[in-house]
Amino acid sequence: MVALTTLIEGQTGIIQSLTSNLHFNARLKALGFKKNSLVKLIRKAKYNGPFHLRIGATEIMVRANIAEQIIIKSLTNSK
């Protein structure tokens, strides 16, 4: 189990847990970050900038500090 930040562009992971505070976990859940959901890293902005993710039919940008708090199980490269 690793943080979402370890994904490489194009890779997909399975969400395991959220380690942010409760209020924000609820927000992430509502956006689709639930246990066992697939999350794909579409792109990272340069210089540790935000992450562009796809989860279900929703595309989202999250800042790196939030991505660090999303724990996933990495799947092997699935472009």
Binding site: A26, P50, H52, A57, M61, V62, R63
Partner: protein, 588 residues
């Protein structure tokens, strides 16, 4: 009267639906959570006069964000009779749990599956009968944007929807599990779910190297469109107002006492024309802004600029608005509506007024032409632009600890969409209405006050040292002396409070000269150092009454308005002081 509330997550098209049903112009944008004020309208639904209320988008029923608290409060205390729960049908899997939570509250409810055109494009299909049966409430598939399904929507909402007495049994349902059951049984997804066009456009617009130049090019074009069309329209508006003044008003007031005459024309009427001058710019700005926002590009721009802005406590959206502020601060401030967290919105509102707007540019061009050669003039102008960015950054850094954002930024990047003409027009119309209804009084009072300061006590030349404005100028000499600004120029700065473009006109009144003659006279009277110090002060101090009025009306916070006013005056003085004293030290 019956009250129906529109509830849903951000970016589900609630406002578009509200707009459709009510026929009124409510702001709609392809941006999560666009409704800031609560919009409500009285309309006939099923032959009954009903108040329809558009609530802000929420992610959960028990969240702590400002919007979520507003919705909780309204549902608890405002006698809502019925709910239309709006979902983005492509995202039904993650939005249905909230719908089930809301339904547990016991209100009669319709689920409105909006953006059905998009889910069709994705290849998602629904078994509506089954879904309705499992949910226990009607489901209405529509596209509010294109008006698809609205006839069925109108018929269906007539079927009596009985108060759903949530049994204790129902209340204990786990909405997540229940939602999964319903989705499994009634929603069918294609094997791969992606919007190829959006991916292609994103790989261009969000390209690691090309993304930024493209962004700057788009912003530049927006600027060109707004201001190349806006300036002639603004001029036309000015001409219309002076035509009315010279052909009607002057004749009407000709027999009045001269003071009353002056009050009516140079105070009241000037105030009203100041307000009117903003109308073309605001309409155009929001026409273009609607395209930028509704197309989904705005979120991409925010993505590109987010890292840079995060360092100074702002976010990518703030950068876009700040750049818009270089055209005109007023619509840029109105654009902060898209920010849902109060702290980030306030911080952004504090920095926007430091953007060197086109009105200030006019003043600088005049002064530079009078004092400098074209080469050194270009350098001075460039330095003023740099200073504008510098003051933005320093203000953000100083105030970011006061406005700490505790709502972490998570933004949806919606698929690219083409806004309809209807959306564009209604947005422009609504924003102008907003501006006129909220800012007019404030601006007119401001203009009249400046008129009073420069015309009283009566019997002296306008704006001379014997008037109140002149007395203020003399009184403030110990403060403005060290920054090289003469009492007469202080009077001009007082005028500049109305609108920066008036500054030159004010100098003309004060020195009794115009155009090149005025420029030459000023160049004789003051040193280059004084001229630059005056421009620095003009750049940084309170932009204009309209900006202040907009900060007040958009933030509804008197303290923020005061901070903006006092901080900009203080910073203007400090910057001019540093410049002028070093100039004196090094040049003389």
């Amino acid at each position: 009267m019956k009250k129906i509330a529109l509830i849903g997550m951000p970016n589900t098209g609630k406002s578009t639906l509200f707009n459709r049903i009510s026929g009124s112009s409510v702001k709609v944008a392809n941006w999560p959570g666009i409704t800031v004020d609560l919009y409500s309208v009285k309309t006939l639904i099923n032959g009954e006069l009903t108040e329809l209320i558009d609530l802000p988008g929420i992610y959960s029923l028990n969240g702590y964000s400002d919007d979520e608290i507003v919705v909780q409060d309204i549902l608890k205390n405002n006698g809502i009779d019925e709910i239309f729960f709006v979902i983005n049908s492509s995202q039904i899997d993650r939005q249905l749990p909230l719908a089930i939570e809301v339904k547990k509250l016991g209100f009669p409810m319709h689920i409105v599956a909006n953006m059905i055109d998009e889910s069709k494009k994705y290849g998602i299909t629904f078994n509506l009968e089954k879904m309705e049966k499992m949910l226990g409430c009607p489901v209405l598939p529509i596209s509010a944007k294109y008006g698809h399904g609205m006839t069925a929507f109108n018929q269906k909402k007539q079927t009596q929807n009985k108060k759903n007495n949530a049994s204790s049994n129902q209340k204990n349902i786990n909405s997540e599990i229940e939602s999964e059951k319903i989705i499994d049984a009634s929603v069918f997804y294609p094997p791969t779910l992606s919007d190829q066009n959006t991916s292609k456009l994103d790989s261009l617009f969000l390209h690691p190297w090309l993304g930024l130049p493209i962004f700057l090019l788009i912003i530049f074009s927006v600027f060109q469109i707004v201001f190349s069309l806006g300036s002639p329209l603004q001029e036309l508006m000015g001409n219309i107002f002076s035509y009315i003044e010279s052909t009607f008003i002057i004749k009407l007031t000709a027999n009045f006492n001269p003071l009353l005459n002056s009050f009516l024309i140079e105070g009241l009427y000037a105030g009203i024309s100041t307000v009117a001058a903003f109308v073309p710019i605001i309409i155009l700005f929001f026409f273009v802004m609607t395209v930028v926002e509704d197309s989904g590009y705005f979120s991409r721009a925010a993505f590109l600029m987010d890292k840079t802005m995060e360092r100074i406590g702002l976010d990518g959206r703030g950068f876009v608005l700040m750049l818009m502020g270089f055209g005109c601060n007023v619509p840029a401030l109105m654009g902060t509506k898209i920010m849902r967290s109060k702290e980030i919105k306030f911080l952004t509102m504090l920095v926007i007024p430091f953007s060197l707007c086109s009105a200030r540019l006019q003043v600088f061009l005049f002064m530079i032409a009078a004092f400098f050669t074209s080469f050194s003039g270009a350098l001075v102008l460039f330095a003023l632009y740099l200073l504008s960015f510098f003051t933005i950054f320093i203000t953000a850094i100083i105030f970011k600890n006061k406005y700490v954002v505790n709502d972490p930024l998570v933004l949806e990047l919606p698929p690219y969409r083409l806004p309809t003409l209807r959306q564009i027009l209604s947005r422009g119309w609504m924003e102008v209405n907003n501006f006129l209804s909220r800012a007019t009084k404030f601006i007119v009072i401001g203009v009249v006050s400046v008129w009073a300061l420069t015309h009283f006590p009566a019997g002296y030349p306008v704006a001379s040292e014997y008037t109140y404005a002149g007395m203020i100028g003399t009184f403030l000499e110990p403060i403005f002396g060290p920054i090289g600004i003469d009492p007469l120029l202080v009077v001009a700065l007082i005028f500049g409070f109305i609108a920066k473009e008036i500054l030159i006109g004010a100098l003309a009144v004060i020195f009794g000269l115009e155009g090149n003659a005025l420029g030459a006279y000023l160049a004789d009277l003051f040193t280059n150092g004084q001229a630059i110090s005056f421009m620095i002060f003009t750049l940084i101090y309170t932009p204009c009454i309209s900006t202040i009025a907009t900060i007040k009306s958009e933030s509804k916070s008197l303290s923020l308005t005061m901070y903006s006013l006092i901080w900009s005056l203080l910073l203007a003085w400090v910057m001019s002081f540093i410049f002028y004293q070093s100039y004196k030290y090094f040049v003389y």
